[in-house]
């Protein structure tokens, strides 16, 4: 009955939350790049030890990209279809 459960619940382990499909990359890449640039700039400006790292949520595609996953996407432009990792990664 797992499929039935999925139909009526919204949990962290839903497939859309635990992977970032490759077709989303072109849409998200400018957003991620811009955000990373802003974070680096503000770190320098405020003399922060750690840069702020904001998760982003794309409602249209139900994609949640944490800072770690964001780095993985940006690091590997030929990233695989599914990027594993938890929400905070």
């Amino acid at each position: 009955m797992r499929w039935f459960e999925r139909l009526f619940t919204r949990r962290r382990d839903l497939p859309c939350f635990n992977s970032v499909p490759q077709h989303v990359f072109p849409r998200l890449m400018p957003v991620l790049r811009h955000l990373s640039d802003d974070e680096k700039a503000i770190q320098v400006r405020m003399d922060l030890v750690v840069p702020p790292r904001l998760p982003i949520v794309d409602e249209e595609l139900a994609v949640i990209v944490g800072p770690g996953r964001r780095n993985a996407i940006q690091r590997d432009t030929n990233a695989p279809d599914q990027i594993p990792g938890s929400l905070s990664n």
């Binding site: 955000l35 503000i42 030890v49 998760p55 949520v57 794309d58």
Partner: protein, 175 residues
């Protein structure tokens, strides 16, 4: 007296949440143009039913056709702007607890005397970045919503003139 660090933090925290609220307000307010577009579509149905195509050479008929074409163009442009209100909108969340704990650990290791200040400034910076992104997104969305509303009004106005001319057209066709 509030320290500059806390003042900055309070300001950008408030601005961040205000812009988030603004986002939802803009989203909620596109209901008006959408309702007007639905009304406009049904009004077109009535106009088309009443219009006598055999009399299209009459000046009133030509005027009605021209206005109806203008109204349809304005309506499609309004639909485009309604879609663009939500297009490519991304939400920016403050750092989660894992991030904050990792940051705190690193600050303790590198600048143990500035843990509180650095963490507060980190949150201020996060709110500021989120606020900036929302501000840009909301500005574009608000522009699209405004244009959607204007175009719907233009479409309805042209339709209203069409309906005013319809009796003249029907009189000419003997209807």
């Amino acid at each position: 007296m509030t320290s500059p660090i806390n003042a900055r933090h309070d300001l950008f925290q408030r601005l961040y949440f205000d812009e988030r609220t603004q986002r939802d307000l803009i989203r909620g307010s596109i209901g008006t143009p959408v309702a007007a577009i639905s009304f406009s579509v049904f009004a077109f149905g009535t106009l088309v039913t009443e219009f006598d195509m055999t009399q299209w050479r009459q000046p009133a008929s030509i005027f009605i056709i021209a206005l109806a074409c203008g109204s349809i163009a304005a309506m499609f442009a309004a639909i485009y702007h309604v879609v663009m209100v939500e297009w490519l909108f991304v939400y920016y969340e403050p750092p989660d607890l894992h991030e904050l704990l990792a940051a705190e650990e690193r600050i303790r290791a590198e600048r143990p005397d500035q843990v509180e200040t650095q963490l507060t400034e980190l949150m201020t910076a996060s709110y500021f970045i989120g606020y900036q992104q929302y501000l840009c997104g909301n500005t574009v969305s608000a522009r699209n919503r405004t244009w959607a509303l204007r175009l719907v009004m233009a479409s309805l106005l042209q339709q209203a003139v069409c309906f005013l001319l319809l009796p003249i057209h029907l009189a000419g066709s003997g209807g």
